[in-house]
């Protein structure tokens, strides 16, 4: 169960949102510049909220009142960045394994890693790309590698920042299905940021509408009432 109450002052406006999700995909929906990425960064520990509280299950990540702020590296939160942020000097294989401990002492564990790697690459259908560099990949392939890298560390929560916006329609459609499938397989909550109503329709189990950093009602976003059937409360 992810619970977050985030208040973050930015130079031009303030982001204020409360999120809660147990399972499934929570979609943060709003126009560009409404503070969606800021919220993801706060969840991941890359930005520090001005005040609030973030917890996942029984682990407390951030609490301004008790001065708790667990650094990003200890949160075990997978993050798929908007521009993928693949390491350009590493192959697909090494990108995917980056989050794994890899010293010689862990050789035994590495055997397990190799299996997990093969499994994840197969699931995302990128096994044939394992020795390529990111510069040699298409947008959709990069997105799959970014997903593989984030899933490899077996996160307790996965954050996705506009994961499909840079892809062509066909790839987007295919990846949408896969995201949904992966979420069901992994059984961890996803928080996904988008400004596309189509993606909202296709992916959301829960939705939070954002406008100017504030949680808004769907009416304020001009969402047609036909959208979903009152799953958001």
């Amino acid at each position: 169960m992810l619970k977050a109450a985030i208040f973050k002052k930015l130079p031009n406006f303030a982001v204020e949102a409360e999120l809660a999700i147990d399972q499934g995909i929570l979609v943060l929906f709003g126009p560009s510049g409404s503070g969606k990425t800021t919220i993801l960064n706060c969840l991941a520990g890359l930005q520090k909220p001005t005040s609030g509280q973030i917890s996942l299950g029984d682990r407390l990540f951030f609490d301004s009142a008790r001065n708790v702020n667990i650094p990003a590296r200890l949160r075990r939160i997978g993050y798929v960045f908007q521009d993928y942020a693949l390491f350009p000097h590493m192959t697909v294989k090494n990108n995917t394994l980056y989050g794994m401990p890899s010293s010689a002492m862990l050789a035994k564990k590495n055997a397990g890693n190799a299996n997990a790697l093969a499994e994840i690459l197969a699931m995302l259908r990128i096994s044939h790309l394992r020795d390529r560099y990111p510069a040699q990949l298409s947008g959709g392939e990069k997105q799959r590698v970014a997903l593989a890298r984030a899933l490899m560390m077996e996160p307790d929560l996965l954050l996705l920042d506009e994961p499909l916006s840079a892809l062509d329609a066909d790839t987007r459609c295919a990846l949408q299905q896969e995201l949904k499938k992966i979420q069901r397989i992994r059984n961890i909550p996803f928080v996904l940021v988008t400004h596309s109503k189509k993606e909202l329709d296709a992916l959301a189990d829960t939705v939070v509408f954002l406008n100017n950093g504030k949680v808004a009602t769907p009416a304020a976003q001009k969402i047609p009432l036909g959208w979903a059937t009152g799953q958001w409360a």
Binding site: G45, P71, A72, R73, Y79, F81, A85, P88, P134, M153
Partner: protein, 228 residues
């Protein structure tokens, strides 16, 4: 003729090595931070590039000389004298070439996409691992360019060296000093040979740097820039 060449190489290599370490650390610290007074500090760091070497030599003499604050401290505590030794030549070369290293290193670090470092942090890396596995490998072409440029500059240092290290053959007489004093004493043959040697060294270093960075650029373009 061999002595000044060997001495020059030793002095320039050590000076460039010191610059490489200090310049990398300082540039890394400055590249990702913004604070009041940063501009002033960076101006001071770049100063050796625009001031006449004689001004630097004078400043170093005031600082490290027998009655200078640092010079007296070293004399009293360690019993060593810096000025007019080859250590002084190293210090002069390192100070004069430092801005070239710093500037290259800072540009290199700024060119590394912050989101790559962020991604590494979410994948469980501490700051040291982020630096060694992500930042350093990606900034390394720019860092290497800085090392070569500062090495070439250190090799050619004359003014500040003359002022704090003097012209002691076999101890502080580097190639540029040897050329000057060879001409002074009318030994044109020696001067000409040394000029050829130091020119060849400088051209060699710059030629290598140019062809290397062009190759680097070509490999990047072949695959298309990964982050574009």
């Amino acid at each position: 003729m061999i002595t000044p060449i060997v001495l020059s190489l030793k002095v320039a290599l050590i000076a460039a090595g010191v610059d490489a370490v200090l310049g990398t650390l300082l540039a890394r610290t400055m590249a990702r931070r913004d604070f009041s007074g940063k501009n002033l500090i960076e101006s001071c760091i770049m100063l050796p590039m625009v001031l006449p070497p004689t001004v630097l030599g004078y400043g170093l003499l005031m600082l490290l000389g027998k009655r200078g604050p640092l010079g007296r401290l070293l004399q009293e505590i360690l019993g060593v004298q810096i000025v007019f030794t080859w250590w002084a030549a190293i210090i002069a070369a390192a100070v004069v070439s430092f801005p070239l290293m710093y500037q290259s290193a800072k540009a290199a670090f700024c060119s590394v996409d912050v989101s790559l470092e962020q991604a590494a942090r979410t994948l469980g890396s501490g700051e040291a691992r982020v630096f060694m596995r992500i930042t350093l490998p990606l900034a390394y072409p720019g860092l290497l360019a800085g090392v070569v440029l500062s090495l070439a500059r250190a090799l050619g240092e004359f003014g500040a060296t003359l002022m704090i290290a003097g012209n002691i053959p076999g101890k502080t007489q580097t190639i540029p000093l040897a050329i000057y004093f060879a001409v002074e004493t009318g030994d044109n043959l020696l001067a000409r040979n040394l000029v050829l040697v130091i020119t060849a060294m400088a051209v060699g270093a710059l030629f290598w740097l140019n062809s290397w960075s062009r190759k680097k650029l070509q490999t990047l373009q072949k695959g298309g820039d990964a982050r574009a």
